[in-house]
Amino acid sequence: MKKITIPLLNIVLIILIALQVYAAYSLIDTRSYAYDGIKYAVRVYEGGSFNINAMVMSIIGIICRLISMHPLVFVNTIALVMIPLSYLAYNYLFNKISTEDSKDIKALALIMLCIINYYGYYSGNLSGCCLLTGYFTGYSICLNVIAPIGAGILAARLKPLRDKEIDESLKQIKKIDNYEESNEDLEEWDMKKHPIVNARNLAIALGIVVVIMLASVFVLNSKINSLYDATVNLQNQLNEYTNGDN
């Protein structure tokens, strides 16, 4: 049974990916913001300057200039390779987190991602990072290629969360009865005696809280500034209207 299902699932997966490539090649989403960034590639392609905030598009512009191909043509043909590449990145991630026995389940998971890309997780602002509409944008490359590979590397490096291992280490620490007998530095004793709530962890937590507070103040401040800009224009317009009435 397994000998038949795994190749069958892989064939379904390949067909779904090929359909995605075909859809990206032949269909236009008229709501798409994704194509807005191509103007930076066109500028580089026609001998203009780089935009430091759109380096991916600038690099596409350089490649297009080297091969003498308009960026729009490049994006609609050669850049389509990013779609299968994204699935390879997810395949790498799934290989890192699952065992050899679950090949069929891995194929099913990739099929699920395909279906989500077709029908799911789409809203108006998502075209820049949705795989089907923005496969060539920096956002999409970050989210669908760099992030899964990074997560796969991290998953392989970080220790798994298992309570048994933590319990064993706690038992070892409890062997030390008190600080006077242990003959250790106060900080080390505190960390061994209280592995979770100790002075160092509390200081780190305080630091994180301060950073979050600063970030929230910054965000609120920027929101208030933008609101203020909007109301300034509004006030000017109101003044104009009232002057006109008088």
């Binding site: 859809a23 236009i28 989403d29 008229t30 709501r31 913001y33 194509y35 807005d36 103007k39 066109v42 392609y45 905030n53 991916v56 308009h70 729009l72 609609n76 997810y90 991630l93 799934f94 890192k96 987190i97 699952s98 679950s102 389940i105 099913l108 998971a109 099929i111 699920m112 279906i115 989500i116 890309n117 077709y118 029908y119 799911g120 997780y121 789409y122 809203s123 108006g124 602002n125 998502l126 820049g128 990072c129 949705c130 509409t133 956002y139 999409s140 970050c142 989210l143 760099i146 899964p148 990074g150 997560a151 991290l154 998953a155 490096r157 970080l158 220790k159 798994p160 969360l161 298992r162």
Partner: protein, 232 residues
């Protein structure tokens, strides 16, 4: 480059979680992986940086659990989960309302390429200031960097950031019954050499050549106006 990658990751997170359904799905997946952490050979928090991968990991483990309990039904269960994720995490991407078949490799309407080619061949200036219709103005800079548009925004979300003249022209051209005098004034004030309008978009039809522009070229769908008395 590094700065762009970092801002790219942050922005893609921001955009992704703009659709709150996926945020809920990711949080449920993370909670599920945390609850079954004893079984996992990896740290689930490592997958936070890849939200869609996190969904996939949760899916793999749900299916593995189902396979242990009821081996034969795992595929049916997986199909159900796929359908659930697909319908609950967003809207259908390709619908007839928003998607159309590409007419060429540029993914720009073929008759509009004709319009842009005409303007580019007609004018030898390095930058050509153009006022185009809101749904089509985005194509100009994608086609050539020589175009300098009065407004580039095509979906109208950022109209408040436009100048007064550009905002007036955008608002008028977004309407079915625009005041062409306002459009003409905005074009003249902002030094727009060309105005491109669709023939059948507006009703009743008040041609722009009553004011400061004249028709220089027509296609079956489009009219290209240039400023009167402008030496091209």
């Amino acid at each position: 480059m590094i700065r762009e990658i970092i801002t790219g990751i942050l922005n893609s997170y921001g955009n992704l979680f703009d659709n709150s359904h996926i945020l809920i799905a990711v949080l449920i997946a993370l909670l599920f992986l945390f609850l079954i952490r004893e079984r996992l050979s990896f740290n689930p928090f490592a997958l936070i940086i890849a939200p869609i991968g996190l969904l996939g990991a949760a899916f793999i483990n749900v299916c593995a659990l189902a396979k242990e309990k009821k081996g034969k039904w795992v595929y049916l269960f997986a199909i159900f989960l796929c359908a659930f994720f697909a319908t609950c995490t967003g809207e259908r991407l390709y619908s007839r309302l928003n998607v159309q078949k590409a007419e060429n490799i540029y993914h720009i309407p073929a008759d509009y390429i004709e319009v842009m080619d005409y303007i580019l061949s007609e004018d030898s200036d390095e930058t050509i200031r153009v006022l185009a219709m809101p749904d089509y103005c985005m194509y100009h800079k994608m086609y050539s960097s020589r175009f300098d548009m009065l407004f580039e925004n095509h979906l109208g979300d950022d109209v408040r950031f436009l100048d007064e003249n550009a905002r007036n022209a955008f608002n008028e051209l977004s309407d079915n019954n625009p005041d062409m005098m306002i459009v003409s004034e905005a074009g003249v004030k902002e030094n727009c050499k060309y105005v491109v309008l669709k023939k059948e978009s507006y009703w009743p039809k008040f041609p722009l050549d009553r004011y400061d522009y004249e028709v220089i070229h027509e296609t079956p769908t489009w009219e290209i106006y240039a400023k009167k008395g402008d030496n091209r």
